[in-house]
Symmetry: C2
Subunit: 366 residues, 2 copies
Amino acid sequence: MKPEEVWDPRGLRLRQVRDRLHESRLDALLVSHLPSIRWLTGFTGSSAFLLVEPGSATLITDFRYRTQAAEEVGDAISVRITGSDLFAELALCLEEGDSGPRAGFEDHNLSVRDRRALGECCGGVMWEAAGPLMDALRSAKDSSEIESIARAVQVAERALVEWLGAVREGASERELAAELVYRLHLAGSESMPFDPIVASGPRSALPHAHPGERRLREGDLLLVDFGARVEGYCSDMTRMFVLGSPAAWQVEIYRVVSRAVESAIEATEAGVPARSVDGAARDVITGAGFGDRFGHGTGHGVGLEVHERPSVNARSRDTLESGNVVTIEPAVYLPGRGGVRLEEVVVAEEGGRRVLTTFPRDLKEL
Amino acid sequence: MKPEEVWDPRGLRLRQVRDRLHESRLDALLVSHLPSIRWLTGFTGSSAFLLVEPGSATLITDFRYRTQAAEEVGDAISVRITGSDLFAELALCLEEGDSGPRAGFEDHNLSVRDRRALGECCGGVMWEAAGPLMDALRSAKDSSEIESIARAVQVAERALVEWLGAVREGASERELAAELVYRLHLAGSESMPFDPIVASGPRSALPHAHPGERRLREGDLLLVDFGARVEGYCSDMTRMFVLGSPAAWQVEIYRVVSRAVESAIEATEAGVPARSVDGAARDVITGAGFGDRFGHGTGHGVGLEVHERPSVNARSRDTLESGNVVTIEPAVYLPGRGGVRLEEVVVAEEGGRRVLTTFPRDLKEL
């Protein structure tokens, strides 16, 4: 048995949450965001609350997940199956529980309507917005989480190699996206973290293009932005190809973006403000005269969610911590002509970084 | 040119929203739920607000969607691209706008944190929870929406036929799910409304099973719950197969569920309480002695979202309207042995119903 199969991180994570609650003078925390529930309990269902109290943790879900919850959730966490709805069961649970009157809730996740339901069903509790408490805990990954993301990168890269065999002139973006999803699944991706973007020719200048009916032609730029999911953890990467020989303008923007990637990777390190990583990429692009052609942030955290903390953009207030896993994805978009985006997955470490993506970043001719 | 390509429903839908605002004494509505934004504007991006005022409608999105928004959104709707964030642009828009001080927001969709941001950025406005105003409007589909759902059913059924050729003893659930997604894409599904459920043997008793490594064996029940998406609209259906000859207990629960489906379909009609459709299915299952083996609701609305109004369960307060499109998906789950679920897509009409799913419902032997 390998060591990582023995160690169960859930006890440590629950202790971290309880420490934060103590600091925030909260007696309990209602976790409603499903990726955070998965992180704390292992539960992968689509409907649940988790109530963390000083002496207990209780997962509340419904009938559909009775068997699954029992299998997935460890001994340290009780499971309650509701006969009606999550709020009613939560009220029962709070009545029987050992916590005081001040409970936190995840205000970035709970809707205004659900917040009202919370007040109505659990009136004896003083509910307080807990802020991004869970997001902050989840953003610094441990080694087993980083290995899961690395495996999700490997699965994505294996699928990309297989997929390149199917790329040919005349194929539509939609067909190519279908081929890519198929190969991602066969390579071991549990699900799609997001629908792959396959954008060709002028459509590569649309930062979030849906794959469409456009068919590949000689001279096209081909952008593919995709990821895999392994043990719940996501990868997210972008590579560029060109059908035939690239035109001078394609090579020019490709080189600028490639230098921006290198500069941002060099800047990634624990202790550094995330906005300075954005600045490192943006300065290269602005210096080359394309500053107004790169309108989005340089990257984002990736983990159980494909977009999570920290933000890597000019307005980010996050400081990189050791174990943060972020994408670096600068771009130059020339509307009507085409765009280049390259995207890497990078782990911030003390005094450096580790790049998880390994597929060559050059503008490969197909 | 076909008539449905000429008629643009967006003007009518905006008028319906404005009528509801007038009834609710609201001067404007902030629409934040993306499927509702798509329904009103055609915009398919992943980040936007829509502000509906008496004399104008404004879509606010970011740089990434500049080109796409211009293409997708009709002339009746202005587009504003934010240089910072949606809230700041919304504040500018409200300052310049023609509406009074009372504005509604979608409280089922807006998080507590975003509600606070709304108060901070747009302080001159009195924000009020608008309730499920948009959901109610969207739940009664027009004929072009029903035809889109019908096409999504057809795509799903074509893929199912193709997929059955790949089902054989020894294949894993995960491989079979990958094959199904591939065929759904090739058949014309724009994306997956949800990850298909492929559950075999005892795992068919898990109502929301993830496809796993279990391999198909002689005598297994095989449950497949999947859908397609066409023009944004979803289908959602479930069929059962058995590898080889079914055992007596498999035939027994299959027959019970099949009768429950027929009974619920018969009960589906405009003007009827949705909970009585649930009751029609549940009575059959309870009468057969399996009442405690059917723990979820009978169905849900389907449209631009795979789960939307109306709810078809015992606690539903919805009354079916003409044009509601709902799933009917009763089940019997025998833990450790296996389960049977069958799922149809049905349109409620005046004095009757139309069943959109056409794939035979019998327990097909493979």
